[in-house]
């Protein structure tokens, strides 16, 4: 018969040691991840302005308000537009650079480092260069200087909505910052492709595009779908560049508000509306979880055949 103490500690005190190793992490995960999420779900059913211990139960009212709020829906639309630009361009550019760098026989480490270097840069610093130097709306901005050589009049990049040139600024800044990161993922995948596959293809007479189409691309399938998922989830969480490019002296223009910017001003703006803010956070979390799980299923589905 085991004593109560022995049962609690397990063979060789294993239960005790498990919690010595895992306990600090698991406790922190419960307090700082699970508690806020559950609390937030609870708050989302109440009217909670400037308070986190509300009393007025409104059921699904906050959810209904959010889903019928044109500003919330337009923030989802902003995400869709942003994702439609940033996901394919980052994917194509990082894959293209990876292929170029992979085949470069001279200075390969140099080129890899240069394209990877922006990963060290923060969104705030990159935004500063884009907003105040490259796409500064005045005549001396770099983009306007270059355009002036061709006789094009200066464009106020960030403040015109027709045509919406601000998208060019928003997309290029993220492109510069993240392309190197994904290029590294593709390079790692390219290096894992067995040389015997290429040799076999060469013996069969495959060259150029055929090798790319029938060897390289299929071998990159797993990495490609991981990259697509990361790009999509990261685009959904876009905040830094939008906030720093477009807000000035506490004001944010009514256009180009992605979901997190909308949530930031709803929950932490002057209203401190935690009820609606929490409902919004729950909706966004569900959207991301559904996208991630759906994409995961697609990936597994793709692997089976």
């Amino acid at each position: 018969m085991l004593t109560r103490r022995q049962r609690l500690l397990g063979t060789q005190d294993r239960n005790l040691w498990f919690w010595v190793f895992v306990g600090p992490f698991f406790l922190g995960l419960l307090v700082f991840v699970y508690v806020p999420i559950l609390w937030s779900i609870w708050l989302s059913f109440f009217t909670a302005r400037n308070t986190v211990t509300p009393t007025e139960f409104v059921g699904l009212g906050n959810y209904a308000d959010m889903l019928s709020d044109p500003a919330f829906r337009s923030s989802m639309l902003t995400f869709v537009v942003f994702a439609a630009f940033i996901v394919p361009t980052t994917f194509a550019l990082s894959l293209g650079l990876a292929l170029l760098v992979h085949r470069a026989r001279w200075f390969q480490p140099f080129f890899r480092s240069v394209f990877f270097l922006p990963t060290a840069c923060s969104y705030v610093v990159a935004t500063l260069v884009w907003k105040m130097s490259i796409f500064s709306g005045v005549r001396f901005g770099l983009a306007n200087t270059v355009l002036a050589w061709f006789g094009v009049a200066p464009t106020p990049w960030l403040s015109v909505t027709q045509p919406p040139w601000y998208w060019l600024v928003i997309v290029t800044v993220r492109l510069w910052l993240q392309v190197g990161f994904y290029m590294i993922l593709f390079l790692a995948a390219l290096q894992r492709i067995s040389p015997t596959l290429y040799e076999a293809a060469a013996i069969d007479g495959a060259v150029g595009w055929k090798v790319l189409r029938y060897i390289t691309v299929p071998q990159l399938a797993a990495t490609s779908s991981a990259v697509l998922l990361l790009l999509l989830v990261n685009a959904f969480q876009a905040f830094d560049e939008f906030y720093n490019l477009l807000s000035s002296t506490g004001q944010y223009p009514p256009y180009a508000r992605p979901p997190l910017v909308y949530l930031y001003y709803t929950a932490l703006g002057s209203g401190q509306d935690f009820g609606h803010g929490s409902a919004g956070a729950v909706i966004l979390t569900l959207v991301i979880a559904v996208v991630a799980v759906g994409q995961g299923r697609l990936m597994r589905f793709g692997r089976e055949d």
Partner: protein, 281 residues
């Protein structure tokens, strides 16, 4: 069998280098602009006749920045350093130990803990900033270093990566340590960690970069000037006023120096960290 190289390949190779060099120049331009504007006079930045090189190099901008009262540069750099170093060290310790426990210590509920960890990977941290803010403000941690550091210490993804790594760690080394009389703690700290420094460096460098460059959480929590990180100081400067551009640019240069130095010396580990963190196996 040697494969004959055709002339087309040479042309292709030449074109490849033209594209690579052009791309490299484009990628370096923003870094050059930072430095160029940071070491210029205000007039050289805003002059209608913009030139590639400033008319003179203003090294005095650095001293001017640290003397200026409008931006708490020294304080915010110190805050960022404290936050990034503490978070990196503690994330490595907390997630490293948890990953080892999950990989190596048999326990009935081990899988439940693992599933509870993996489930949170579906929920990106950025989306939960509202509930996290609610918790931290209830604890009274707004505008404090605690509020900036502690909620970011429990990284499910780092724990998961450590678990995967330790599953592949050579068991013979641990068995030898056990025979020598070391317990779980002794085996972990004296045998497993010293033999895993490459992986620790990979996760550590990535954590440090993420922490130093973090924006949304410090923006939400760092409400008083005394708790600003360098990113928040720069952002406030950038969104509140547009004068003193030379100070803003030199501040940005100084803010990325620590990471550029890391890239110079630790790039191998950063690359490995990116490879590990990007691949969901």
């Amino acid at each position: 069998m040697a494969i004959q190289r055709r002339p087309v390949d040479k042309v292709g190779s030449g074109a490849r280098y033209v594209v690579l060099v052009l791309g490299a120049v484009l990628f370096l331009v923003p870094f050059y602009l930072l430095l160029r504007n940071g070491l210029s006079t205000e007039a050289d930045i805003t002059s209608p006749d913009w030139t590639l090189f400033p008319s003179s190099l203003q090294w005095g901008n650095i001293a001017e920045l640290f003397d200026s009262r409008s931006v708490p540069m020294a304080r915010s750099l110190a805050n960022s350093a404290v936050i990034a170093v503490t978070q990196t060290v503690l994330v490595l310790a907390v997630s490293g130990m948890a990953g080892y426990g999950l990989a190596r210590i048999p326990y009935r509920w081990s899988n439940v803990v693992l599933y509870a960890t993996v489930a949170t990977l579906l929920i990106p941290a950025a989306v939960t900033f509202v509930p996290s803010f609610v918790l931290v403000s209830t604890l009274g941690w707004v505008s404090s270093l605690r509020g900036l550091i502690v909620p970011g210490l429990f990284q499910a993804f780092a724990t998961f990566l450590f678990r995967q790594y330790f599953l592949g760690f050579p068991q013979e080394l641990e068995d030898a340590a056990r025979i020598d009389g070391l317990g779980y703690l002794g085996t972990f700290w004296r045998v497993v960690v010293p033999n895993s420094l490459g992986f620790v460096a990979a996760i550590g460098t990535i954590t440090f970069i993420g922490s130093w460059n973090a924006f949304l959480w410090p923006l939400v929590i760092g409400q008083d000037q005394s708790s600003w990180t360098v990113q928040i100081a720069l952002s406030t400067f950038l969104t509140q006023q547009t004068s003193n551009l030379h100070q803003l640019f030199i501040a940005a240069v100084i803010s990325i120096l620590p990471l550029l130095v890391m890239f110079l010396f630790l790039q191998r580990w950063i690359v490995q960290g990116v490879e590990r963190s990007g691949i969901n196996e």
